[in-house]
Amino acid sequence: MVNSAHSEHMHRKPCIWTEADLKGCSDMELEASGVTVRFGGIRAVENVSLRFGIHEIVGLIGPNGAGKTTLVNALSGFQKPRSGRICLAGKDVTGWRSDALARHGVARTFQAVRLFRGLTVAENIETALLSTGLARSAARARARDILGYLHLSNRADTLASGLNYGDERRVGIARALAMEPKFLLLDEPAAGLNIGEAEELGQTIASIRDDFGCGILVIEHNMALVMKLCERLHVLATGMTLATGTPTEVMADPAFKDAYLGAET
C-alpha cells in the first residue's frame, strides 16, 4: 500500500546542500544541514544533511555505529551539533533543548523505550498529553483514544514495567504520538519484534502518517520493513552519508551494496 506512493517521491535529494539552501527549510520540513557531531576526537556524524516533510516516511539506515541515533539526537535536541544547522518549519532551531523542540512538534522514541515503569500505560500517555494543555480528565479520555488506535486498550491499566517487549515499544510510540508531533523520529521501533509483529508495526506506522499527518523518520535494521514502509532512504556509514534515494535506487547503488550488504561481486 505504501509502495504505490513511490513514484511521487522519485525526485532524488542531493546529499549536501549549498550555503544558499541552508537559509530556512520550508514550513513543512525538519532539516539537518551539514551537521557534524564529535565525541572527543571521534566523529560520530560528519557533515550530514537530511530533510523530510510531513506526510513523508524516511528510513535512516546504516550499520551499527554509523551515527544514526546521534543524528536523531541532533534533530531532537539531545545533542548539540559541533557545526551545521537544524531547521524546523522554516526556523533555525540549532541548539534548542529537546523539550522546546518537543513542544514545537518534534517527538521521538528511544531504543531503550524509557517508559515511566512505575506508572500505568494510560498514565504514561496522560503525562505527555498534559503538556498539550489538556486537563487531567480530558487527558484520560484522549489517552484511551490513542491506546485504542494502537490496539493497546486492554493494557491501559497495566503498569509499564509489566509489559512485554512488543507492547512496550507500541506504548513508546503512543506516548510520542500524544505530543501531537509534526515530526516523529522512531529509533529502531521494530527491534526485537518477530516477523509478524514487525509487519503489523509497519502498517501502524504507515497509518500514523496518514491519520496524524506527521512526517516520520525511522531508524530500522529490518530491511524488509524499511523497503516496504519508506518512500525515501538515507544511508549512513561511519558518520557520513553514503547514499540517498528511493529504496530501489539505494538498493541499486554500488556504494550501498558494498558497504551495507557486504561486497557481493
Partner: protein, 291 residues
C-alpha cells in the same frame, strides 16, 4: 494493648510523614534534604511565638511559614545547584540546616521553649475498653488522613501525575513537557506542609521546642527512608511506620533495665535489614541515571 498500638501508630505516623517529606524531594531531584529538620523546627517556633493567639490561627500561620521557608530555600539554595551531583546537594542542605538552626539560636537562644498548641486534646477517651490518649489518637488519625490525601493527590491530580513521572525519570518527564521548576516547587510545598503538620503534632506531644527540635525526628525519618528504599514514596511511608512501631514496641516490651538502650536495639534491627536488603525494602528504580 490497644493503647500500645495507638501509641505505636501515632509515633510511626509522625516518622512516616517526615520520611515522606524527605522522600518527595529526594524522588524528584535526588536531594537528601537535611534541612527538612528546620522545615519542622521553624513552624514549631512559630507556634511558640503565636501561643496565646487562637489555635487555628497559630497552626495556619506555622503551615504558611513552613511553606514560605521551603520555597525560599529551594529558590535560593537548591535551584542554583540543580543537576549537580547528589553529594554536593546533600552538603548544601547541611549548610542550610546549620544556618537556620543557628539563626534560631540567635533569635531565641538555645534554651527550650514551652509550646502547647493542642491543649484541647489533653484528655483521653475510652475505646474498646482501653484509655486512649486523645492527642495520640488525633496524631494517628491525622497521619492516616494525610497519607490518603497525598495518595489521592499523586494518583488523581495533574500535578501528582507530573510528580510521579518526574520521580521516575526526570529527563524524560521534561521532554514530555513537565515543567521542572513547577514540579520541584510542588515537591517542596508538599514537603513543607507535611513538616508543619509534624511540627504541630510532635510539639503538642513533647510540650516544648528547641533549635534541634526537628533534627531528632528527621534523623530517625532518614533511617526510615533508607529502610523503605530511597526514592520510593510507599517505601518511605512504610519505613516510617515500621521504625515508629518497632521503637514503641521496644519501649513497651523491653525489660525496664534495657529501655534506656532502646535506640541501640532499634538501630541493630536497622543494620540487620540493610544487611539483607541493602537497597531497602522497596528499592526505587533508575536511581543510577540522573539529569
Amino acid at each position: 494493648m490497644i493503647a500500645v498500638l495507638v501509641d505505636a501508630f501515632s509515633v510511626g505516623g509522625l516518622y512516616a510523614l517526615t520520611a515522606l517529606g524527605i522522600g518527595l524531594i529526594f524522588s524528584v531531584m535526588r536531594l537528601a534534604n537535611f534541612a527538612h529538620a528546620e522545615f519542622v523546627t521553624v513552624p514549631a517556633y512559630a507556634l511558640f511565638v503565636l501561643s496565646g493567639h487562637p489555635v487555628i490561627m497559630a497552626i495556619a500561620s506555622s503551615v504558611l511559614i513552613a511553606v514560605m521557608l521551603a520555597l525560599a530555600t529551594e529558590r535560593i539554595a537548591f535551584r542554583p545547584l540543580r543537576g549537580i551531583d547528589p553529594a554536593t546537594m546533600l552538603i548544601a542542605s547541611f549548610a542550610v540546616s546549620m544556618f537556620l538552626q543557628r539563626l534560631l539560636v540567635f533569635a531565641f537562644d538555645s534554651r527550650i521553649k514551652p509550646v502547647d498548641p493542642l491543649a484541647v486534646l489533653a484528655g483521653s477517651v475510652r475505646l474498646f475498653g482501653a484509655q486512649i490518649n486523645l492527642l495520640k489518637l488525633t496524631t494517628m488519625v491525622t497521619c492516616l488522613v494525610l497519607l490518603v490525601a497525598l495518595t489521592v493527590f499523586l494518583k488523581y491530580t495533574r500535578f501528582g501525575l507530573e510528580m510521579r513521572a518526574a520521580a521516575e525519570d526526570f529527563t524524560m518527564s521534561r521532554l514530555l513537557g513537565v515543567r521542572a521548576n513547577r514540579v520541584i516547587a510542588t515537591a517542596f510545598v508538599l514537603s513543607a506542609l507535611l513538616a508543619a503538620v509534624v511540627a504541630v503534632l510532635f510539639s503538642a506531644q513533647t510540650g516544648f521546642v528547641h533549635p534541634r527540635f526537628g533534627l531528632q525526628i528527621v534523623i530517625i525519618a532518614f533511617v526510615a527512608t533508607v529502610i523503605g528504599g530511597l526514592g520510593n514514596l510507599v517505601g518511605a511511608a512504610v519505613g516510617g511506620f515500621l521504625v515508629g512501631v518497632v521503637s514503641t514496641l521496644l519501649q513497651s516490651f523491653l525489660p525496664p533495665d534495657l529501655r534506656p538502650f532502646r535506640e541501640a536495639f532499634l538501630f541493630f534491627i536497622v543494620i540487620l535489614v540493610l544487611l539483607f536488603r541493602p537497597q531497602g525494602l522497596f528499592p526505587a528504580r533508575g536511581l543510577k541515571e540522573r539529569i
